[in-house]
Amino acid sequence: MKKIIELKVNGNTHEVFIEPWWSLARVLREQLGLTGTKISCETGDCGACTVLIDGKAVKSCLFPAMKARGKEIMTIEGISSNKRGELHPLQEAFIRHFAVQCGYCTPGMIIAAKALLDENPKPTEEEVKEYLCGNLCRCTGYTKIIEAVLAAADKLG
């Protein structure tokens, strides 16, 4: 039976009318218009749906929206003002280092990388690879993604 719940996303509180079995990913995309978060496998394997919940990376395709009540959710739309010249260093680095091709994995990848840098501001190349191993990309072969994350770490540090 559908319920009205409150979700706090990117600093804003929203009321949504949802079925209890809807995933957070689905609610973000279809109820809140935050389509930056992508649904790709729905089995928690590819990471295209990664968002931050209370600062921690979470695969939102496996996370019931009901579970997200009372928590701080951040999506790619909330990582910066998303205006030119005001992007998060990770977003800038992904652009500058050609780490974006088709772009479908990109929002999830950037969010996961943000979680990494928030926890570990100076990761090694190996640590970046281990942290991001749950975010699959079919286009880039990861090399430039890793480069971008390390460059952003330098900039933030």
Binding site: L87, C102, Y104, P107, E125, E130, C133, G134, L136, R138
Partner: protein, 783 residues
Amino acid sequence: MAELSVVGKSVINVDAFEKVTGKAKYASEEGIGIPGMLYGKVLYSPYAHAKILSIDTSKASRIKGIRAALTGKDTPEHRTGWMVDDRHILCHETVRFVGDAVAVVAADSIEAAEEALELIEVEYEELPALFDAEEAMKPDCPVRLHADLPKYNRPLYPYLGKDLPGPNVHTHHKIRKGNVEQGFKEADFIIENRFQNDRIIHCQLEPFNAVCYPENDGSITVWTSGRLFMTQGPICRAFGLPPGKLRVRTGYLGGMFGIQGRPERFAVLVALKTGKAIKMVYTREECFIDGLNRLPKIIYLKDGVKKDGTLVAREMKVIVNCGAYTDHGPITIRNGAFHASQYRLPNYKWDAYGVYTNEPCVGPLRGFGSAEALWATEQQMDITAEKLGMDPLEFRLKNTVDEGEIDVRGQRVHSIGAKECLKKVAEWIELDKPSRPPEGNIRFGKGIALGNKYTLADTASAAVVKVHQDGTVEVFHGGDECGQGLNTVLTQIIAEDFKVSLDKIKVVWGDTARVPYDFGTASSRSTLYIGNAVRLAGEDAKGQIFQIAARILRTNPGNLETADGTVSVKDSPERRLDFSDLFLSAVKEARGTVKMASCLEEGGEIIGKATFWGHPSDEDPETGQGEKLAMSYDYGVQGVEVAVDMETGLVEVLRFCSAFDTGKTINPKMCEAQLEGGAGMGIGSALYEGFVFNNKGVLLNPNFHDYRICSTLQVPSGEKIKSMTVEIPHREGPFGAKGVGETAMCPTAPAIANAIYNATGVRLTRLPMTPERILKALKEKPE
């Protein structure tokens, strides 16, 4: 040539800002939250081969919210397809693979559609199924999967339907050059081997999806995650719609690698029947089950070689398990023959067969037939080199064709950087030095492979360039932006030709109502074909600009040049006009509202238009020879160093080097990105990826945990990966450029196989080279 200022530079990808902010629109974003939208689901056959005795959708139709429950009887009577018309939109009488579409439901909510799907009652009579292509192709095979095959219409390449050796063989492609029997007699050594590759699939991150809107004028608009015109054509044929009645739109594609998009045909079916809009999104499992696979080939390869290392003859028999319907099988089989163009083969015989089986359908996957063939031939080169006691690099250098030679299909070789690439890669991985010594159970080895990928000659692109009053240049093209950076390359080309800054250029794509025809992004053709069409359209537009400006400046059009939205006389730059001066509003007689008019005084607008097509020759159906079958070839080499755990069969790729010839590298960093991406897909195809079926034809790993694509941990990065390009200009390419997107995956698997052999003495002839298969081979190796 004049010094280039934008082409050849690593210009930032024009899409990147949208993509890093999450604003980029894919077909997945279309139609979300629209009131009245229907949601569709497909019912698939659970059997590999069965007769449909009855379908009852009455219970399904009673579910609250169901608006349509359609079966074969609701679809057109005629069969349709790409090269062979052999398939109905929904099965009529027979299902031919686990995943064949039997019914479609559409409802107000996805939940109602799922409920309804469960209530459709289908009675099947199971029939014997074929999974083995060699069995299925036999002339006396008792099971016939398409009894009407001889009557099927063949709209494309009909000659591929001749000389079929068995009732389940639908395609036979031949190449004959010289006399292989004579060649084998002249040879000092004969090397014969059998190779095989399992099914793999693209795994684009964006799941296949489509949205279909019926329009008020009786036409329909379809959004697809697939290609633009290559969606329009087949859908029109399938439903008997005139192209003017079907508008196709795309956003950014979340990956493509050959083919995307499957649900459009079902969305269109529902929209036509109900008159309502419908959104269909495949689950990841459905993408696996109903997607096209890379060609699973069995290759019998026989080479004849002289003691001095000269290849004299090659015979290849290729048996392709094409699955239940031809789909893109025939063209991919035929095109796979292009791989042979890299070596001098005076006597050559190729027979490639497409065989119906009860497995999923096949089509192009980054390499379009060539990658699968190179798996065999590039290992055979190493095997032969060892037999001769020759260095594998020297053996390849000796036999690689040179500019101007005629290749195995009768084409003159042009723009080939294969030898340079071989040397560069061999140098970087230090192929002449042995790999490191064993460490405990780990053995190290190195290997290289040379690959190539053709771009088809029988395609066409058109482009339109519109120049605006404010100096903006708008480019309209019918290609697909799937992450390869096409829009950026076209922006660079226009920036170079018009000498305008990048922010003055706008690229319009993804709408058949707004852009001219294009075969689309495939065959590594976008830079070459669309780049050329755009240049030519730009020249046409400039011509119009110069005509108008010449009158105003009182000179000849040939004396004029343009930069930064101005037109000036060469050598007299003070005699200059802005683009706005060319328009009606600037004319002396402009009065009243005419002073606001943004059209031209005559002719309406500055619109340049052009076609670039390949002027292909015929292909001789008996010999496969033709003067111009491919527009261009891209050649490339990959070299790897691997570590093999002798106790577990696990392989780690330690270092990876690519060198590819691009003709002209329009954007070096983006090109590098393609090569690195190819490494990732190639390593996946070599070591991890493969479909696993049970003996009932059910796919057991239709998901991302049991079908393993590379993660960050499987691909070398940083200092351990090196991507290089070599520029040997192609006379027909824009600025000499040709495509590189697919070649990046072509030599990977054989290079890794060669490295594993170098490390362990064990040669795997079947893809993928999983740990279990490697360990088994290690244990079976004679001491």
